[in-house]
């Protein structure tokens, strides 16, 4: 489904702050796989996600999606196939727009936005039905402004918005880092359900070792822009929490 071939990316080349955030990363993500990436701060996890999403471009290497090269496409063009949930709950949705308007944008992800009024009764019902699956009571608050919702609710809505139109790859960049433990669990469960129901190829970056072990079908660890450990589903299920902790406590 998604292939990264010898991807490299250096920031601030030639300066004292030069850092190689991706160092010849080669990675193949199969259709329907759910890969979890762990690693210390600055190990290149977020850079990898940004490279796939298209908010930054690689210095060298190729990114293939369903066999086609996409590494030179800007992020808004890749959004046809690649959806993402950000670390900051405020980033994934537009705060001053209503829930309905946010969903309208998500529904038009693959189409141009014309001078047309597309929010009709049919659209409202379909959004309400989708929101009802979250069990947060948001289906009665369609016209409420997004900025008034909690971080957990906004992350849940961002997740739901990603599957308004058919999408292939879902990128989750520490989606629960800013949430309280209960909201974090809720959001992770919703993500898990959406990924399975829509058979998405998912990539999750997390610092939470419990999340990393509990979710996903593959676990990789990054360090200094390289993939240093790679566990498939079978190996991953045998991993112990304490063992993963030792990956980070090497001092």
């Amino acid at each position: 489904m998604l292939q990264l071939q010898h991807i490299s990316k250096t920031f601030d080349r030639g300066k004292a702050t030069e850092v190689m955030a991706a160092d010849g990363v080669t990675l193949q993500l199969d259709a329907g796989s759910y890969t979890v990436i762990v690693g210390a701060n600055g190990s290149g996890k977020s850079t990898l996600l940004n490279l796939i999403a298209g908010s930054i471009y690689p210095d060298s290497g190729k990114i293939l999606l369903k066999g086609e090269e996409i590494q030179r496409l800007p992020d808004y063009r890749r959004s046809r196939w690649v959806a993402r949930v950000f670390q900051n709950p405020l980033t994934g949705t537009a705060a001053s727009l209503s829930i309905l308007d946010n969903f309208r944008m998500a529904a038009l992800r693959k189409s141009p936005k014309w001078m047309k009024h597309g929010v009709d009764r049919h659209f409202k019902t379909s959004v309400a039905e989708r929101l009802a699956t979250l069990g947060m009571g948001l289906e009665d608050k369609l016209t409420q402004v997004m900025g008034t919702l909690s971080g957990g609710q906004r992350q849940a809505i961002t997740l739901l918005m990603t599957v308004m139109t058919g999408v292939d790859v879902l990128l989750l960049d520490e989606p629960t880092a800013a949430l309280d433990p209960r909201s974090a669990r809720e959001v992770m469960e919703i993500a898990d359900r959406i990924i399975r129901e829509n058979n998405l190829t998912a990539l999750l970056v997390t610092h939470n070792i419990n999340e990393a072990l509990h979710y996903g079908t593959r676990l990789i660890q990054m360090e200094n822009g390289k993939v240093v450990r790679d566990f498939d589903n079978q190996l991953k299920s045998r991993l112990q929490h304490s063992e993963v902790v030792t990956w980070f406590d090497y001092y």
């Binding site: 992020d75 808004y76 537009a94 308007d101 998500a106 992800r109 009024h117 016209t143």
Partner: protein, 293 residues
């Protein structure tokens, strides 16, 4: 009384300008200073078109196109060259001064001998009433067009662009192009105001745009204060507040002038008035907090 009707007429002439500024400053969150130049550009193109004998529709359209082009320049400098929006606006505004002077060929031009958008309509006996009628129709058209646009899918994408660029890029919107459209529409509206004022005053002056962005900003801020105060979420009501803002602002200026403020102090009065409007909500909330202690 005539004095205040004149103020309202002036306010409605500024209607498109504040709609444009509302679009750039509030919807897109871009402080667009191109306004000073594109306003004059609208007036200059109007003067040139009318003196060359072009019809009114052509004059209006060409003025707006001129403004749109100026807005595109600012947006391109801001998005493609990644230059601060404020600086981009100042650059284009400064450049427009020479463009305006070249187009007009001199520093001012009277238009009294030409038929204008206000002169063809004469149902009422009083000229001011005719002018007011034309402007009310124009403002209504503008109001409905703007609220249609901002509620459409295109408008939602515009509003989302000002809100969270990463969100709207993730929904497949080219935010750079969106800003070009936004500033083009905004400056086309600003130029339309210049076109209306030139026809209303009966002359175009190369310096008429100086500080116009502040007058517009004052009106937008009054509108915004009303929007926040009344907790308005619906787009048509927001636009209504902005139009109300420009009328209130011009009336305040009229009161100041009527109270004996010297006409040469007009810009100073405008600045102080805007300062007062900006500062008042902040000072007000501090006073409320202090009184609660």
């Amino acid at each position: 009384m005539d004095f205040y009707i004149a103020a309202i007429i002036q306010a409605l002439c500024f209607g498109p300008l504040v709609m444009g500024l509302f679009l750039s400053m509030k919807i897109f969150n871009i402080p667009d200073i191109t306004t000073d130049g594109s306003y004059t550009l609208g007036a200059v193109i109007t003067a040139v078109c009318l003196s060359k004998g072009y019809g009114l529709p052509a004059t209006l359209i060409l003025s707006m196109l001129g403004g749109a082009l100026a807005g595109c320049c600012t947006a391109f400098i801001h998005t493609r060259l990644r230059i601060n929006a404020l600086l981009a606006g100042i650059l284009v505004m400064t450049a427009l001064y020479s463009v305006n002077l070249t187009l007009l060929g001199r520093s001012n031009m009277p238009l009294l001998s030409h038929s204008t958008i206000f002169s063809w309509f004469s149902v009422f006996a009083v000229t001011d009433q005719n002018t007011l009628a034309v402007l009310i129709v124009l403002s209504a058209v503008l109001f409905f067009a703007m609220s249609f646009m901002l509620q459409s899918d295109f408008g939602i994408a515009m509003r989302a662009t000002g809100d969270s660029e990463s969100m709207v890029r993730a929904q497949g919107v080219n935010t750079a192009r969106m800003k070009v459209y936004g500033l083009a529409i905004s400056n086309a509206l600003v130029a339309l105001s210049g076109c209306l004022i030139a026809q209303f005053q009966g002359f175009t002056d190369i310096n008429m745009g100086i500080g116009i962005v502040i007058s517009g900003l004052g009106a937008v801020i009054i509108g915004d204060t009303l929007i926040n105060l009344l907790k308005i979420r619906a787009i048509p009501l927001m636009l209504g507040c902005v139009l109300l803002g420009v009328i209130l602002f011009q009336l305040m200026l009229a009161v100041a002038l009527g109270a004996g403020v010297d006409a040469s102090m007009l810009k100073l009065t405008t600045s102080l008035l805007v300062l007062l409007i900006v500062a008042l909500p902040r000072v007000g909330s501090t006073v409320i907090q202090l009184s609660k202690r």
